[in-house]
């Protein structure tokens, strides 16, 4: 109708829609996520001093990077802990989540809505609340965990204050936090498998374990691989719980990358040095994400050409 009256107008309107609908998103991304990367790169070659609320910049070249790679110890302890944390929690979450999903998928379960509601709880309540909760539970004197241990006649444990177990305690909280999410993902994956394919394949195997190993795991593999890769990368984001539970302590026992950056920037006011840390972290993780995407795309292509 419109087109027959003035074809030029519609074309112009359509172009205008394209620009107007994409401009806000592009503007937000450019100004508040693209520019900050450049900003960090710029700040990282300066030494920034604060005096009376005003910053004074002095150019130091690559000094901040030299210091980070040659003199820094806490940040690198954080890198090590973050890697241990990521691999450890994701492994546990996957094993637990997948097994539970498998059990529920095969046997069905009572009260599915209530169950889903409970499993959603850790996912939707603020992470800082989860930190608070577990700090109260793992507290040395009045914590629920030690109250239970004492009631059982066992020795109490300093869950968050003992450097040997503090990281394990923090990892436990994260496993508790995210296993339900992995469970829901895996369950959705299992339920979307084609029943007919499964029935046909079941003819050729005997027993539950064979079925899992030769049918369900291969069919679920793409979902599992994607979930593992992205859960690992997302667990590099850990900050809120660590901030509240241990603040990286005792010593560097639970130091994670994000906490090092926070401390350098906001508690020690070392903006230039903190920027160098951010830049190194940012590019290292971006590199990992791009490699992971590349591997996924490649394995998908290989499968398509088979």
């Amino acid at each position: 109708m419109n087109a027959s009256i003035a074809p030029g107008t519609t074309a112009r309107r359509n172009r205008r829609w394209l620009v107007l609908s994409l401009a806000p998103v592009a503007a937000f991304f450019l100004v508040l996520s693209g520019f900050p990367v450049l900003n960090l790169l710029g700040l990282s070659v300066f030494n920034v001093e604060w005096s009376e609320g005003a910053a004074s910049f002095s150019y130091v070249g690559l000094e901040n990077y030299r210091r980070l790679f040659l003199q820094e110890t806490i940040y690198w302890a954080g890198v090590r802990n973050t890697l241990v944390f990521a691999v450890g929690v994701v492994t546990c979450q996957m094993v637990l989540g997948f097994s539970m999903a498998l059990a529920v998928n095969r046997a069905g379960t009572a009260g599915r809505t209530i169950l889903t509601g409970i499993f959603l709880l850790p996912i939707v309540i603020p992470p800082i609340v989860i930190g608070t909760m577990w700090r109260l539970i793992m507290g040395r004197e009045f914590g629920l965990a030690n109250t239970v241990l004492r009631a059982l006649g066992l020795n109490e444990v300093d869950w968050l204050g003992n450097p040997d177990i503090a990281l394990a305690s923090v990892m436990f909280v994260d496993i508790w936090h995210w296993t339900p999410f992995v469970f829901l993902l895996m369950l959705a994956g299992l339920e979307s498998l084609d029943e007919e394919v499964l029935d046909a394949a079941r003819m050729d195997v005997t027993g539950f374990w064979q079925e899992v190993r030769h049918i369900i795991l291969p069919l679920m593999l793409p979902t599992i691989v994607i979930t593992v890769l992205f859960r690992i990368i997302l667990s590099f984001k850990v900050f809120d719980e660590v901030y509240l539970l241990t603040s990286g302590g005792p010593g560097t026992a639970t130091e994670v990358i994000n906490f090092s950056i926070y401390r350098t920037f906001f508690r020690q006011d070392q903006v230039g040095y903190g920027s160098a840390m951010s830049v190194v972290t940012l590019f290292a993780i971006a590199f990992m994400i791009i490699v992971a995407r590349g591997l996924l795309a490649r394995s998908k292509r290989a499968k398509d050409t088979e």
């Binding site: 508040l32 960090l40 608070t132 539970i137 903190g274």
Partner: protein, 276 residues
């Protein structure tokens, strides 16, 4: 065979309900502290007299600003999720349903994916410096706009998945009838993705409400949100356990409401957003 099947059913139920108890019991224990006197919390009494004192202290005492913190959380979460959903829905329609230059689509979605996965903490330093430079550090504007960009990738991917689920024929027919892009959006796409928009808004609201890192570094005492306030309770020398538990309870109310009324939406949104 049936015996084994029943045994399997019981075992499966045992395992998942066991995990459910592991979620529920610690949560309830902590929340129960909100109704206890300090002495009962410290001595670890399970069954104890109920008091509303913690809530009174938390909400109405002169030293506490928690009511203000809750209000700030609401302002930030409502406004930022409204902005995200509006601009993400329009952009998702264009990217998912219209002819857009390949490089532009690749650039926006590629950056959204990368940005979503990068740790927030690598950006907060720069945000702090930028907002301070324009004199807006500590204002609602800085916290809200930063929340928008932080949650934008999720909004974009969620809406993109809902947009791509719409049948292709509808848009073809609309195009044949001479609809412009804007008309197709308002008359065809928008009415059909409203359910998806509600799901996405709910999730984005929850993530904005839950944010800690951004509010911690950008908000001033006047704009401080509830999660930051709760964290400061825990850092004080004399930890006020009762008030902390009461604050925790109040700050999870939106999440609880959503689980009760919109469970379907949350699951749908989480699953749509997770497998990208």
């Amino acid at each position: 065979m049936t015996g084994r099947r029943i045994a399997g059913r019981v075992a499966a139920n045992g395992v998942v309900w066991g995990y459910a108890a592991l979620i529920l019991l610690p949560t309830l224990w902590v929340l129960s502290n909100a109704f206890k006197y300090k002495i009962d919390i410290i001595t670890g009494t399970t069954i104890s007299p109920i008091t509303w004192g913690n809530f009174e202290q938390l909400l109405f005492s002169r030293q506490s600003h928690f009511l203000r913190n809750l209000f700030n959380s609401a302002v930030v979460a409502v406004i930022s999720s409204a902005i995200v959903i509006v601009i993400a829905t329009m952009a998702a329609f264009t990217l998912g349903r219209l002819k857009v230059p390949g490089w532009l689509r690749w650039l926006i979605l590629g950056w959204a994916l990368l940005f979503q996965m990068l740790p927030t903490l690598t950006f907060v330093g720069s945000w702090y410096v930028m907002w301070s430079a324009v004199g807006l550090h500590g204002t609602y504007v800085s916290v809200i706009l930063t929340h928008v960009v932080h949650n934008l990738p999720m909004g974009l991917f969620l809406m993109l998945s809902f947009m791509s689920a719409l049948p292709h024929e509808l848009f073809q027919a609309a195009r044949m009838d001479g609809c412009s892009n804007g008309q197709m959006f308002w008359r065809v796409a928008f009415p059909l993705v409203r359910g998806g928009m509600i799901a996405a808004t709910a999730l984005i609201f929850i993530f904005s409400w839950s944010d800690f890192a951004i509010a911690l570094t950008l908000a001033s005492p006047a704009t401080m949100t509830a999660p930051v306030a709760i964290a400061t309770f825990a850092q004080e020398y004399d930890i006020r356990y009762g008030e902390m538990a009461a604050g925790t309870l109040l700050s999870i109310v939106p999440a609880l409401v959503l689980i009760l009324v919109g469970q379907r939406f949350i699951v749908r949104g989480l699953l749509a957003g997770a497998v990208k």
